[in-house]
Assembly symmetry: C2
Homo-oligomer: 338 residues x 2
DNA sequence: CTGAAAGCGCTTACAG
DNA sequence: CTGAAAGCGCTTACAG
């Protein structure tokens, strides 16, 4: 067995020469796309293992016009949702021979743009893009050259653009229904400052559940706050100070809910007896705090798998297909706070 | 402005033809490596923007024998340490033109091996590898062909292998010192089942701090448990049931500490007055639980940056250089439980 | 200031 | 059953 000097990759030509055959033949024993006589096959195989030959994927990509690479562009890899998504994605993509390049943008449109064009430069075979807003425009350069793209967290697909997101309206609705079923009728909602996006959808779902149950919507029960722990703390304070305070409050996400629990605890109130609290997202901490937070969850790994499958179909499946729209149904994780 | 049909990438040849120059010239206006007359430069530039030409990175990689890609191989992307690490890494690598391919192995040696050879197949310019054990061997295929590799969470470098990890012994030591400074002398430690690895290092640091302070090591104060919440819960139960229970207990990680707090709360004890509790890692939940967990932290983003810089030096710097060993000093994050 | 040509390492029609 | 050759899209000595 020859020891190769570091830094030197052995090429298919090296193998061919040592085996006394053409590179064509070596290529075919590798791919199995053409029958090769048993004798030469074994001979080539032996040389391959002797030399430790590993086909150069870069060359292969250039020739085959396929990089076997997917770009995943996300605002914040530190938000646990995305790593879970990525892991689901990889799980299915890896079996197809694809690897994924993850790019963090910090939700900076500048970076988003730069990273996107970089991905087309790398000739990725598909991209999943979670932008901060203005999705469709940002993704133009990829669409234009025919790279399949799926937009994350958006609901309206377009030409060359699939869409995958969690059904936030449904999330607000099932959370509210859960509370209503448990006898709460006066339910507050701590939401964010903006009038659009997931938070607004959740509020819409809440209103829908209310009207289903014949409960009148009372806008004094809506508190608009920052998406943060202190936002939650001050939001619930305002709600509890109302002449007729709510018996339960929905918080636009788990961190806000944890903030709400801070003031509840500070006031010596019991949860859920004096006031029930519920969040959205099911972050790790939701299960770890005490009392454990009741919340609504999606399964990001599952979304990742669906994402991977969609991409695979787009890349390898028969074209063209209608733009897809995948919506994920959330569900309640019942714990101790509601 | 011509609209290209989807799926068709424009190549440097297209640009050259339309500009009436050679591909050589186009290449040089792109790279700036050779002066080009202002006139033709502008002309070429115009065609480039008109056509939206983006150089094919795959072809460039093949020619330049550099993929501008780094492989990051980790056991669990869902463990928040790694995303933070990755983001620090990317931050520095991106400026050098490198992207990173993240591969999840689920700590499966089979997958680790497969993924590693896949990375060499892709001709990554460097790899960072966090294996479950048996590091050096697993990484052989990359070292053999001269790809710079840095092993994560290991302390001994080798030929062609750099090493980067947090100083777990120091972690145990500073945590213990912190407790000792606050007057605790009878300190317990809930550790894992194994006698090696980070957990064992932390215990070693604890013993060192004890002896520095002239406190005798008492092995009844060491509880061996699973690395889990229930492990923490039962570990502290045993410790508290001792004839002379500890006044403070160190837990091998934050989740174990949270488990310990479960039983402390269950017994109606006050923290830290009746018993202080301290963890390691500073997971998100540490700050979110109540009382907030005192723990020891490293800054993973910072490790990621150092990792990126090391890799960059290895790839682009003057070779060869001694195998590097980078150790990160942890620090106490003082909160409410100790 | 510019271009023709070689070559990076593969795959795959084409030919025998 | 096998091989010579073209070509994927670049960069870069070499030459003028």
């Amino acid at each position: 067995v020859a020891k190769s000097t570091p830094g030197r990759h052995v090429s298919i030509t090296d193998v061919a020469r040592r085996a006394g055959v053409s590179v064509t033949t070596v290529s075919h024993v590798l791919s199995g796309r053409r029958p090769v006589s048993e004798h030469t096959r074994q001979r080539v195989q032996r040389i391959i293992t002797e030399t430790g030959y590993q086909a150069n994927q870069v060359a292969r990509s250039l020739r085959m016009q396929r990089s076997y690479t997917i770009g995943l562009i996300i605002p914040d890899i530190t938000n646990p949702f995305y790593p879970s998504l990525a892991s689901g994605m990889q799980e299915v993509l890896r079996t197809g021979g694809y690897d994924v390049i993850i790019c963090n943008t910090n939700a900076d449109p500048e970076v988003e743009r730069a990273v996107l064009t970089r991905m087309v430069t790398r000739r990725v075979d598909g991209v999943a893009f979670a932008g901060y807003y203005n999705h469709v425009r940002e993704v133009g350069p990829a669409v234009k050259v025919g790279i399949p793209v799926v937009l994350l967290g958006t609901q309206v697909p377009g030409p060359g653009i699939d869409v995958l997101s969690t059904d936030d309206l449904a999330a607000g609705q099932i959370a509210s229904r859960y509370l209503i079923e448990r006898g709460y009728r006066r339910i507050g909602f701590i939401t964010g400052p903006a009038g659009a996006g997931p938070a607004a959808e959740r509020v819409a779902g809440y209103r829908r559940a209310l009207s289903e149950a014949g409960i009148r919507f009372d806008k004094t029960l809506i508190a608009r706050e920052e998406f943060s722990r202190v936002g939650g703390a001050s939001g619930i304070a305002r709600l509890l100070d109302l002449a007729r305070p709510p018996q339960a409050v929905l918080c636009t996400n788990d961190v806000v809910a944890i903030g709400a629990l801070d003031t509840v605890r500070g006031r010596g109130l019991r949860v859920p007896d004096d006031v029930a609290v519920m969040g959205f997202d099911d972050i790790d901490a939701a299960a770890l705090i005490s009392p454990a937070l009741t919340t609504v969850s999606v399964i990001p790994v599952q979304q990742g798998r669906a994402l991977g499958e969609l991409l695979l179909r787009r890349i390898e499946g028969p074209q063209p297909e209608e733009p897809q729209r995948i919506l994920f149904e959330p569900f309640v994780v019942a714990r101790e706070t509601a």
